[in-house]
Structures are given as C-alpha cells and as structure tokens.
Point group: C2
Chain length 237, copies 2
C-alpha cells in the first residue's frame, strides 16, 4: 500500500518518531546510569538519575500532546492510526522504565550506606544488566520493525524472572542470618523487583510492536507475568 | 457546543462507556476481594481473585479495540477525541489496579501460612481500605465528571504515602526482631507497597479526568510521587 502524505503531515509524524527515539535513548541511559550507580555505590550518579527523571516525564507529555494533535488534524486510519496508538503505548512503557530507574537510584542511596557484603548486590547488578539488554534489544527491534528480534526478547523474559526468584530467596536468607542487614536487604529486594519489571516492560514493548505491524489486538499472554515468588524460605540457624 | 451524532456512532460510544464502567467495577471488586482475602486469610477468595484477573485483562483489550475502531470509523476531534484518549488511559490504569489486586492475593497465600502476629497485617489491611476508598471516589468523580471530587482524591494521596512509610518502618522492625518472620514480612512490605501504588493510580485517574474535562495536557506533578522511604531502621536488640 502506498500512502501519500502532505509535507506538513510527514514532518509532524517524523518529529513524533524522533521524539520517541530520543525518549527511548533517555530511558536506556537512565536505567544504565541507575545500574552503574548501584554497582559502584556512586551517590553523585544516583542523584543525577533522580534529577533527570523529570526530562523523561516531559518527553512523555510532549509525545502524548503531539500524538493527539496528529489525531486531531490528520484523522489517520489503518497503519497510520496504529502508528499513533503504538507511539502512545511505547511512550507509556518508557515513562515507567524511567520511574523504575529513578526508584533504583533512590534505593541505592540507602543501600550503599548500610550494606556490608556485596555478593548479592553484584548478582543483582548483573540481573539489572540483563533487563537493560532486553530493553535495548526490544527498542532496536521496534525501530527496525524486526518482529523476530522482538519475539526473542518476549520469549527470554522467563530467564529474568527465574533469576529474580533465585535472588529473592537468597536475599531473604541474608536477612534471616543478619538482622542488621534487614533494611538494606529489603531495598535490595525492591531493586531486583524493579529490574524484573523492566523485563516486563520490554515484553510489553514487543507486544506493542506486534500490534503495530500486524494490527492484531494485544491479547497475547506474557511468557511469565507477575511471577511473584510464592515459596518461602527458612534456615536452620 | 452541540455535537450531533448518528445513531450508530452514539451506540458505539455508549458501549465504550458501559464497558469502562464495568471494568471500573471489576477493578474495585478485585481490590476489595483481595483486601478481604488478606484480612481474613481466606485462601479460597485469594485464589478466586488470581483467577478473575484474566477478565479484567479481557475487558482492557476489548476497550482498546473498540476505542481504536471509533478512531478508525468516526475520526473524532475535540471533546469527542479526548473522550476516546481518556478511555484508553483509564482502562490502562484499571488494568494495573487489577494486577496489583492479583499480586496482593498471590502474596496472601504465602503470608497467611507464616505470619504469627496480625497487628501489622491489620494496619496494612486498613491502608488497603484507604486506597480502595480513593479508587472508588475517583471512579465516581470520573463518571460524574466531578473535578472537585477528583482533586480531593489527588490531594489526599499524601496520606496514603505517609501511612505506607510508617508501616514500612514497622514491618522492618518486626523482621529484625523475629528472623523467622522475614519471609512473611517481606511479602507484607510488598502488599502495602501495592496498596500505595493503588493510591498512585487513583491520582493518575484524577489526572485523566482533568485532561478529559479541560483539554489541558497531563503535566501536573503528583502530590507525592514515588515516596520511597529513604530512611533506615535500626533497633537495639
């Protein structure tokens, strides 16, 4: 299908695409910086991540406003309409990734002061890197309209969930063994949960791409949704 | 402004409105049931909440599909366009409330087996009721297009956040005192975090109504966004 657009329409859509790509890059950078701050206990970087979240929120609002303006003035249908809807959804996912990065940075400020041993934290940092790779891969897939690559991210989310579950258990054991680490370890549990949720957002983005390309409703069930660990842990003291 | 619609258009929009109201009622019921299951340690009810989440997801997909169909066939503008965009956003918030209710139910299944003392759990249940009241109030405000009532919910979210922070501290102290309660208490922390997030979604819904009524972009800053406790707790043993 060949669709002909006026010059103004094309530039408006092009601007939206550029804004989305920039917002994606910002979310990746925020997440990467949050992980680095956590790994290196770098308070200056953690503060910078917290402060920069407002920029992602601003990009989100700009994209929503521009998408609504396109709907208002161009009243697109078919693939062009799906493109706008998908932009809306993608911006929403990226904004939430930004929130999670900010939350990791905030908790890093507490953890860094109190945590005595770094072994679990190191493993959680690696998990963070894995969720970041999923985000990067799915954003590349989105830009390239590469359904196979997006599908690979979607299918791989189970690995992140499994890693989360095993780190969850390990952190609980630490808390039981060392009560003075309870506060730091609770924040560690939330930090790893945040990385697990980044993985969920990556699968959501894969679903947005699926909708964009195929026009099919987003009815797919995630490979592993809400894998709340329902086992518990006890240790012989 | 008087807008005249054809009969088919009116019925399509009316159907969307009914679907949204039903989805709102479902989210409220799921949250209410999750709180009751948690308070009464009612495993049967908790299982029912987990199972019923698929219905909310289905409603979400139906609303998105129907909203896109309206954009496709009617190409609305102005207030009618805002109505569709707001439906999209509201359904998204409700779906996430449903996820949180399901998560509370899942964690209830663990907590109920292990928790020895109910005093914190009782307080957390009360916090859940408070978040549920915010949800009910804001959904009533939405249906009645009552900006003042929505604003009241928006402004009241700080109370839920404060309650969350104080329960967070209290739960950490319990964990330090009783290491064998670490697992149950960690799930308690997540349950109360889920209620705190329900409060955030209620404020988001207030912002959606603001956009719907005024047409202004959703740039308002939440009264208390991401109030991650950054204090820590120590006890003299």
């Amino acid at each position: 299908m060949v669709v002909l657009h006026g010059k103004a329409e094309l530039s408006r859509r092009r601007a939206l695409e550029v804004d989305l790509a920039q917002m994606g890059a910002m979310a990746e950078k925020q997440l990467g910086d949050a992980i680095s701050a956590f790994e290196r206990r770098d308070m200056t970087l953690a503060d910078a991540v917290v402060a920069a979240d407002a920029q992602i929120d601003a990009a989100h609002h700009r994209i929503e406003r521009d998408a609504i303006a396109i709907l208002e003035t161009e009243q697109p249908s078919g693939a062009a309409l799906r493109e706008i809807i998908a932009s809306f959804k993608l911006a929403n996912e990226l904004e939430r990734v930004g929130d999670l990065a900010k939350n990791v940075a905030k908790r890093t400020l507490v953890v860094s002061q109190e945590l005595k041993t770094m072994s679990i934290a190191t493993a959680i940092g690696r998990m963070g890197r894995q969720s970041m790779r999923a985000l990067t891969d799915v954003l590349d897939a989105y830009v390239g309209r590469d359904m196979a690559a997006a599908q690979a991210v979607w299918s791989g989310d189970g690995n992140i969930d499994e890693l989360y579950n095993s780190l969850f258990q390990e952190t609980l054991v630490s808390m039981m063994r060392e009560p003075d680490q309870v506060s730091a370890c609770t924040h560690l549990v939330f930090i790893s949960k945040n990385f697990e949720r980044v993985g969920d957002h990556a699968t959501n983005i894969a679903e947005v791409l699926h909708f964009l390309v195929t026009g099919e409703p987003l009815t797919s069930v995630r490979p592993k949704g809400d894998e709340t660990p329902t086992t518990s842990v006890t240790i012989a003291n």
